[in-house]
Symmetry: C2
Subunit: 395 residues, 2 copies
């Protein structure tokens, strides 16, 4: 157990490197090679050493939340208030001044830290705000990321990064021009059970992975919410929840898909208008020959990522809950539960981004990573509409 705990600690510490080697930053070339490429399978890349440095004790970066919906209310603000080590809530951006003032009182944010969508650009004059966390409907991500960067702030942006690849390019470009960091809030990149899947795949603990199955979905409620409005959401279940299944297929394989095929369905055309998928199945083919079968749905619960390898399988189920993720593996006929401590995903992602900013490190979830998903999701929608496999070979 002691060894297990130590391993967990190391794993969370080295997470950045494991992911970097397979997914982002300088590891991207490795990611496009088969998982058997040495760089992708050897665990921590050189940058892993840097991951052990941490911000100076006591130093906290100020986060402003843009959008005070349920995710901010139930997850992000509480994490900032009580669970992060290197972050504090110093700004609130909302279209509802009453709400913002209420939150300010509750969380000890000064009146001067409150903005609305019009005067938002004035945050450039607020030295207490280091990072802007964009928690708005998808179609507003690009605008507020770009405005935040232009105001000199680093940006953490909720997934999906935007509603088109073109928007992603503009966001990346704006942050680069402003000399500010951009990260996408892919919280599962910090979750120990999901990280264990990545480690097992990369280290071929049960042999090479052959087939990945990933499902992400929930029965959506209120038909009037922004998630069901094409103009605000940019799509349907795939953009919002299926993206987790896509992510899982990519981080477990450690590769970028070369082609996608897809089928979508609508059983409730009143609730799900054209352009807002109710459910979509998609299959991905990776360069090494790994294939992934993924499902996304707003009509039913789907919540499992599984890798089937030569000598067994390993999975998380539930895979993407905020609390209660469980991992296990079937190792030659023996079922073994993972044993990782629960973490707060949002605290972990915000602390990691603070660490990257304070110590000049690359984030494991840069804008380029968000852009890759947009590119693939665009192809998935194209494949579903055309009934043809869409190549992603280059571009």
């Amino acid at each position: 157990m002691t060894e297990r705990r130590r391993f967990v600690k190391e794993l969370v510490g080295m997470g950045a490197a494991v992911w970097a080697a397979s997914m982002g930053g300088e590891g991207r070339a490795a990611a496009q090679a088969p998982a058997s490429a040495p760089g992708a399978s050897r665990g921590p890349a050189p940058s892993g050493k840097a991951a052990s440095s941490t911000p100076p004790p006591g130093k906290k970066l100020g986060y402003a939340l843009v959008g005070l919906g349920s995710l901010s209310q139930n997850q992000i603000a509480p994490a900032l208030a009580a669970k992060t080590k290197h972050c504090k809530l110093t700004g609130l951006v909302s279209g509802h001044p009453e709400k913002a003032r209420e939150w300010a009182k509750k969380y000890g944010v000064p009146e001067t830290g409150i903005y609305d969508y019009q005067n938002f650009d004035q945050i450039k004059n607020n030295p207490d705000i280091d990072v802007v966390y964009v928690v708005l409907p998808n179609s507003m991500h690009a605008e507020f990321t770009i405005r935040a960067a232009q105001a000199g702030k680093h940006v953490l942006c909720e997934k999906p990064m935007a509603i088109s690849v073109k928007e992603c390019d503009a966001m990346i470009s704006a942050c680069r021009q402003a000399g500010r960091k951009l990260a996408i809030a892919y919280r599962l990149h910090f979750e120990p059970n999901n990280l264990e899947l990545v480690r097992m795949a990369r280290e071929k603990t049960l042999g090479s992975v052959k087939v990945i199955e990933a499902g992400a979905g929930f029965p959506i409620g209120d038909p009037k919410q922004w998630r069901l409005d094409k103009a605000l959401a940019g799509g349907g279940s795939l953009m919002d929840i299926g993206i987790y299944a896509l992510q899982a297929a990519r981080y477990i394989s450690g590769e970028e898909p070369v082609s996608v095929s897809a089928v979508s369905t609508t059983t409730d055309p009143v609730k799900f208008k054209p352009g807002v998928d109710e459910s979509v199945l998609f299959t991905l083919k990776f360069p090494s020959g790994i294939i992934a079968s993924c499902a996304s749905s707003y009509a039913t619960g789907l919540n499992r990522f599984r890798a089937s390898a030569e000598r067994g399988w390993f999975e998380v189920q539930p895979a993407l809950n905020y609390v209660g993720i469980k991992g296990r593996k079937m190792d030659q006929g023996k079922l073994v539960d993972f044993d990782f401590p629960a973490i707060d995903h949002f605290a972990a992602e915000m602390d990691d981004f603070a660490d990257c900013i304070l110590n000049g490190k690359e984030t494991r979830v840069p804008g380029e990573e968000g852009r890759r998903d947009l590119r693939i999701m665009t192809a998935i929608y194209e494949a579903a509409a055309s009934g043809r496999t869409v190549s992603l070979a280059k571009g």
Copy 2:
């Protein structure tokens, strides 16, 4: 518990009707309508009453096994010897006379019940053989089914029924002309946990099914076995094991797919020659809008069928083992294991076929059912090769 047991008993009894209403025989029209069609959702069809009749006590039909490979050796012959109520082993057909004589001694089959592939047609003169059970490599199913029918015997044929739709047509036609029954050995049509999935889907216990996920696979061993020989197997993993995932999608939905898309992969081109798929993913779309994401593999273990519905999910996992199938459901956040007694799948299918013959009933797994799978599998291979969705709307 008493009620549970009673239910199990009824379920196994009514199985024929549940399946018939959704899959085969006169139920076929209903199967092509949405699952909400009254006939498909009301439980036992009229023929369900007949299902409670059983063969006269003591009356046993004689089965001849054609092909004495491992399935016959480890499953079918032991079931005939000790587990069936209405069947007995009275014939052995093999290319290995020594082996046949050994088996004859072990199972008390008279010397006159032994045949080889040349003199097989002489079984027409053997009144102790009522049924021929074809347990040969796939490409030999058609020939021996047709010869058996022409010899006046009923035929139970292993899955896949044959290696082409054309062969299926010839088999159906030969049995019809001879006035003999033809059943395909889809053993899971008799397995209580799988039947429970069908019942829950049909009765919408957790609301309408929205997404089905089904995986069937195992890492295949000996590269020289007939399963890896295109001429004998007619294909690869899909024909042999993926067919279970296809079946699951069809029996859980209770519908016939209108289109398929597919992607296949080969990571070991030495072992898996052209025409013998290593792994294939396929997606099916059904008339009611249900979609199914299926995986088939000879490279890794896949063994789960799951239906995700409006208010929860239900699954079997393992799904297709000869022994040890487990079912469970997630009913609004509560995980409940199914509690069905284990049965011998082969004894059940052989006894059911005996019952159909003795009492003039329709089998729930007729040749037409096997033909449907061949038609769909042919389309899956076509979709994988072309990268295009293949329509199955009619034909």
